[in-house]
Amino acid sequence: MSTDVTPTPSDYRAMEESTTLAPLERLGSDDMDHELLTLNMGPHHPATHGVLRLLVTLEGEVVRDLKPIIGYVHTGIEKTAEDKSYWKAIPVVERMDYLAYYFNAYAFCGATETLLELEVPPRAQYLRVIHMELNRIMSHLVWLGTSALDLGAMSMFWYCFRDRELILDLFEQSSGARMHTRYIQIGGVAEDIPRGWEAKLREFTSQMPTRADQYNDLLANNEIVLQRLRGVCPLAEEELLKLGVTGPLLRAAGNPWDLRKAQPYSSYDHFDFNIPVGTEGDNWDRFAVRVAEIYESVKIIEQAMDGLPEGRTITDDRKVALPPRHELATSMEALIHHFKLVTEGFRVPPGEVYFPIEGPRGEYGCFVRSDGSSKPARVHMRDPSFVNLQATAPMTEGSYIADLIATLAMLDPVLGGIDR
């Protein structure tokens, strides 16, 4: 066999050799460099975490302008809630932000309880805290898995969803449903936790910090993750405040605003926990703050389980809460209360209340207006995803389109909450 590698002369070879790497001669005007391309992303795009549509104006690969277009999953939940009695509105309100159903339900119930001037038993408050913090971990796990997926880390998605399943199993055991559990009721919670639930919860809280350590080891020392996140798309605290951004995004910029500490509700002042804050407000800080929040939520759950008070799990005000099942067979009064509650519902004194709580994405504020009837005259959810979405454009202007995807992942928008 010949070892001669000199190519045989051919027309093709001649053409290839004549090619130089010098810049191509420019065609058309000198303004070619400044030509802008408007690109439509979505509404069906895997990196938008839902049906979010973005109109992106690009100069080469650099984002010059960005317009979010929303409304593709608008289902009129606020309108539907006006047509239902208060306790029947809870299931529809829960479906707004579908990763934070306990928070939606609690914001609505809290507003209604304020209108009713209703005291919630301490055991119910603790159970609410336990479930809300489990929900926060669950939401952060979904965020972590899908964001890592956007950065190209496939296996993180499976790990995070494995742990999310453990939380959903706990929800299923305590309320009968994995999602949209309807567990939080006006005046308390639907049912006490079943036997064996605590052991399962303890098992989860004992392994979750280790799991979070493992995720941190996988991602936080990963060269690709560091390059994609560190120093990318920062936004200063003042800008975030102007845009009304709350939650982990604001805390990543160094502002420790957290309603659980600032305006404690539902016994949050009984627990000892820290608020993770960032320094730069870049994508890395947004990532680190959320991962650190998982540990803090585990701490809160353990403390709440340790100190879980005995007593009722729902108010004993029979005008608001259903009577216990066993009384229906023996007590006429209980039967009447049950009938009135199930048919008409309860009446709420007229008034207007805005009830803000700290959810996994920021301030969930439920506005409820009562006109004195048994149906709310107006329900409005100030959803943090909706308000935070406005920060996408200022965050990403002047950055690469690949960083836009990473920033969107770190923003953690939930379109069910945005469109409601």
Binding site: G71, E78, T80, E82, L241, K242, T246, W257, Q390
Partner: protein
């Protein structure tokens, strides 16, 4: 929250600075302070409150007070992050003249929320940089969150009906 006395002082101060007829009433309900103002004074009122420390506008939402008049309401939830204090500013406009000055130039967070109120209630925010529908389709007719807007019976546009034009809405 400012207590009821603090609310009165706040209202007097607002009236002195933003115009004598700016403040219509104050409401203290369930430990929550509310100032009801004239619609045209909303921009200076919010600026005065910002100077008092209420530096964050957390929520803007609309209400339909049907059958009361004036029907439409717009609420502004202000927050003082340092003093951990909230105050609500409310205003009412009629259906015939649903014009409210936009606060978006001063509070960028109001952008989407004012668009939502325009979309859902038909309140027109003068001076808003981009007042379009946000949640409903651009060619939608009516303002669905109004209390006299029926629930249900919404015509659904299927692809097969597209050639029929907009007749499906009738």
């Amino acid at each position: 929250m400012p207590d009821s006395v603090g609310l009165e002082l706040l209202a007097q101060d607002l009236a002195a600075r933003a115009g004598a007829d700016a403040v219509l009433a104050t409401v203290y309900f369930r430990d929550r302070a509310t100032v009801i103002v004239e619609p045209y004074t909303i921009v200076p009122v919010l600026e005065q409150l910002r100077e008092k420390g209420y530096g964050a506008l957390m929520s803007v939402h609309g209400v339909d007070y049907y059958p009361e008049e004036p029907r439409l309401g717009v609420h502004y939830e202000l927050l003082d992050m340092n003093a951990v204090d909230r105050v609500t500013v409310k205003l009412r406009v009629t259906l015939d003249n649903p014009h409210v000055p936009s606060v978006t130039p001063n509070w960028p967070t109001a952008n989407f929320q004012e668009r939502e109120i325009y979309d859902m209630f038909g309140v027109i925010f003068d001076g808003h940089p981009d007042l379009r529908r946000i949640l409903m389709p651009e060619d939608y007719e009516g303002h669905p969150q109004r209390r006299d807007f029926p629930v249900g019976g919404e015509p659904v546009l299927f692809t097969i009906d597209e050639s029929e034009g907009t007749a499906y809405t009738q």
